[in-house]
Symmetry: C2
Subunit: 360 residues, 2 copies
């Protein structure tokens, strides 16, 4: 069991996990992020600290026998209780989950003989390689996102004249109606020049116009697992003259990337293969992001697929491949799929939409 395995690794140190992806991974707890709750782990003990009102739920959902309760739903009390429990011990290093609320973490640190160190060092490796059950959940999540993308594209020319925000609302509602738990990250509907700001633009009150490429990047959560896919579509009219070649280059880069996934491949090398494809087709310097990222309980998680990555692909990893061309003040193109690393290569689990022109 993964919790036992982690505890054995602690070797005299401790770890504190907050409500979020790591807690779900370790215990199955699905409660909300702002729940006053933390899990203290040492080699010997696994103790949930929570408010008295949540004790029954925590015992049931997490299957834990050690629960220490504080009177009220206050993060400071939770942190102080954890600090008390830590003070009874000898060691002085505690790995802290990045998702632990600051109110809890600060209270632990407040009375500090202990060194709070980066929990990613012990939590991230656990979640990198997905089990068969996790891969199945990723596929179900990808299927919902793909269905909603297809339904969005079916809206067709009626999208022209909507604001980006209105289309994002339609997408959000469809994700939920089809069984997703809402967007896995803020929905990107980036029309015309907005498509060229892949890092900062989500959606806004800009009206989508005829002839504009629209970058649609969204995913949902199914059974806790995220999806993340991107298409670029011209809902009506004739796009800028450079657009068809840019789209073809991105499609070629996507295929090169998916084809290059295999166990043992350096993530930086995979990024280079994708980047070269765009460079050779005349779009040097237009791909201003990395190639992709891991995906699982969170839409963005390790490994990183980029020029400076030092990860190596392993069977069971799930990563995105998302090449793009970003031409400031003109438009953007991006295509994205999730790829599961298999024993021999990679399998794209999204049904990538390869036609920027809508069928009549």
């Amino acid at each position: 069991m993964v919790l036992d395995r982690l505890q054995r690794q602690l070797d005299g140190t401790a770890a504190v996990v907050g409500p979020g992806a790591n807690l779900r991974y370790l215990t199955g707890f699905t409660g909300e992020r702002d729940r006053a709750l933390a899990l203290l782990l040492t080699e010997e003990d696994c103790i949930a600290v929570t408010a008295a009102g949540y004790e029954t739920q925590v015992r049931q959902e997490m299957g834990l026998t050690s629960v220490s309760t504080v009177p009220t739903n206050d993060p400071v009390s939770i942190g102080e209780r954890i600090a008390d429990l830590l003070h009874q011990r000898d060691s002085h290093t505690v790995f802290v989950d990045e998702e632990l609320p600051m109110g809890i973490g600060r209270s632990i640190a407040g009375d500090l003989q202990w060194e709070l160190v980066d929990g990613r060092d012990i939590f991230d490796p656990l979640r990198r390689v997905k089990t068969a059950a996790e891969r199945a959940a990723l596929r179900r999540s990808a299927a919902v996102a793909d269905e909603v993308r297809a339904a969005t594209i079916e809206i067709g020319a009626d999208v022209v004249g909507l604001t980006e925000a209105a289309l994002a609302r339609r997408i959000h509602a469809m994700l939920v109606e089809r069984g997703g738990a809402g967007p896995a990250f803020p929905i990107v509907v980036a029309s015309g020049p907005h498509g060229a700001a892949p890092l900062s633009h989500r959606h806004g009150n800009r009206l989508i116009r005829s002839g504009e490429p629209v970058v649609l990047d969204f995913g949902t959560i199914v059974d806790g697992y995220a999806s993340d896919q991107t298409s670029t579509v011209v809902f009506d009219g004739t796009p800028p003259s450079e657009f068809p070649a840019a789209f073809a280059a991105v499609e070629a880069a996507l295929d090169a990337g998916v084809g290059a996934v295999r166990p043992g491949r350096d993530a930086a090398e995979l990024d280079e293969i994708v980047r070269n494809e765009l460079d050779e087709r005349g779009f040097r310097d237009a791909f201003t992001t990395g190639t992709g990222h891991g995906i699982g309980l969170r839409a963005h998680e390790p490994p990183t697929i980029g020029p400076d990555a030092d990860d190596v692909l392993e069977p069971g990893m799930a990563i995105t491949i998302e090449p793009g061309i970003y031409l400031p003040e003109r438009f953007g193109v991006r295509l994205e799929t999730v790829v599961i690393v298999t024993d021999k290569g990679g399998e794209s689990i999204n049904d990538v939409h390869r036609e920027w022109r809508l069928a009549d």
Copy 2:
């Protein structure tokens, strides 16, 4: 301006704000919670620290001239940069926003000459009294929640046979379609005995049956501001024999609570008025929660309206009044509205649904 006012209060100390309600309140920044970004405040300076890729967006949205950038979107780098900036100063106290990501906060604490103290002490008082613009946004948010509640009740007897989760999905989609940014907190659809677990139950795979009271507690976000309202409905059939009297008692307690809101009223006294109403009607000990909470940029914020509260109501505060009767293993009843404290009393801004029986 609120940012200036806060800076003047700092008096030699510093404050660090993460992406979330306080940052939005102070600067208008609406970006997502997991953005690598923090704002460092001292009496003299206001410096945003973020990844280089977000500099333009941060400058534009926050209207700040001092932006310090780190190369990558990594919380540890952000925290280390803030620690560097703090080390140039003399004082040794920093107020830390509860919503600051732990990855950033831990890095500040990592190299600690500074004492990290509870930021709620300085941030919460700023947000307690709502401006006219904030009150207008709360009303718009309440209106969307009320519309969706009405539409949910209109589904009528067809709700019987749905799972709680399926009905929650319908509610979520309707909130988004009507202009909300999604649920303000996990949607509660608590049927039959589930209604008696007000602290822990949200919705699950239980089928809603004929004759069961169903507690519907949800809100959304409009222009950044939350709504939160509850109704209790029997979608079909005849409820347990004690239910009508319980419903009438909760309705009376709600009215007593709304009627008792006025500036200068102790929050604990308001709680007692609501609680007495239930006690006198034979439901002593069945009201196992507090009476309410503040609402604004977050669905739950100070003040607390409960037996141990030490807050006093002021004009412009927005609070919930949410009496309930919780009978373990049988059913629950709750009604809830948001009340804005006026100069003379209180104004309920939700259109409370007072009929548990559906019209034929």
